[in-house]
Symmetry: C2
Subunit: 167 residues, 2 copies
DNA sequence: TTGGAATGTCAACAAAGCTGACGTATTGTG
DNA sequence: CACAATACGTCAGCTTTGTTGACATTCCAA
């Protein structure tokens, strides 16, 4: 860490506008790859990325409330509600009234929801795994470092909130 | 490169589902940061990311044709046309009939377009630069490696097509 | 008991993608 | 020359996913 500043000469060449532009474009096209496989699966089911995200985070934190999910996703409740309603109607998500606080709805995946989550995350993980394997562990460490440094405050807060839950 | 396979024991720990999940989530939240700053600027102008992308690639390859742009962006001509029309009407892009082939329209940024492009890319580059600086050159190399390995075929082809143009 | 928080719903709207169809100008080819 | 193909634009309509604003319900807590 902090190598760039200490090394002399042209060690800062990785910060040129050209290099930054390449990074920006790589990020753009990589994100397309990142979402391509789940998108294909979702298209067949008349779902979109919003459904994928909801399923992902419900799976990650079973029993989470609607408000929690709202905070993580950073969308309006109306937007999330539409997605959630479809998932509940289709029997992929179940929403249970809270016991301690009956205003809250706790969200769980049904067996069908778990099955779809697995299809989606398997597809996404397969691509990620292939990329990781091709690039090697050091590259992966750098990848994660840069990504975490790139988050804006809101996204970083959401990311941090997740860490407190699990890993 | 290819370290993972050679090293013994638990050198493949970076390929666990947990690690992959973290990478997936980091990618999701980092992309929000990646687009947050330009999005703020665009919102004031009643533009969206689609406009940003068009402006970016016209700036990158001045005189490019509509078809070229279509291929790079991977959207339909109707979708691009809507965006392009707004940009031309607002005087940010000019469209010139081709000399060799009069069916083609060659796209250029006007001075106003160049100014907006600079605002947008400055904002995006600033964040990218800060992330790069914080992570250091080795991390950046890894970042780029993983991103390039993550692209799907179509996106990789688009990315490669760009490389042939400039860097 | 009353105020506020959590949730849900209705309506309306916008951005940005899509398909399909059609028109026009231009170019290349048989 | 005639015709097919290409490049581009446009109209119409549909989808997903986001947004505001307004309002009702339920329920906890002061």
């Amino acid at each position: 860490m902090d190598t760039g500043a200490r090394e002399g000469g042209n060690a800062l060449l990785f910060l040129t506008d050209e290099q930054l532009r390449k990074g920006i474009e790589a990020m753009f096209f990589a994100y397309q790859g990142f979402t391509a496989d789940p998108d294909r699966i979702l298209a067949d089911l008349a779902y979109g990325r919003a459904h994928h995200r909801a399923i992902h985070f419900i799976n990650r934190s079973p029993g989470t409330t609607v408000n929690n999910l709202l905070a993580i996703l950073g969308v309006t409740k109306q937007s999330l509600n539409r997605v959630l309603r479809a998932l509940v109607e289709d029997g992929l998500v179940k929403s249970e009234v809270g016991q301690r606080d009956k205003r809250e709805r706790h969200l769980f995946l049904t067996d069908a929801g778990i099955a779809l989550e697995r299809r989606l995350s398997d597809a996404q993980r397969d691509r990620m795994r292939a990329a990781y394997r091709a690039a090697g562990p050091e590259a992966v460490a750098g990848f994660r470092q840069v990504l975490e440094a790139m988050m804006d405050d809101k996204s970083a807060a959401r990311y941090a909130a997740l860490k407190e839950l699990k890993g």
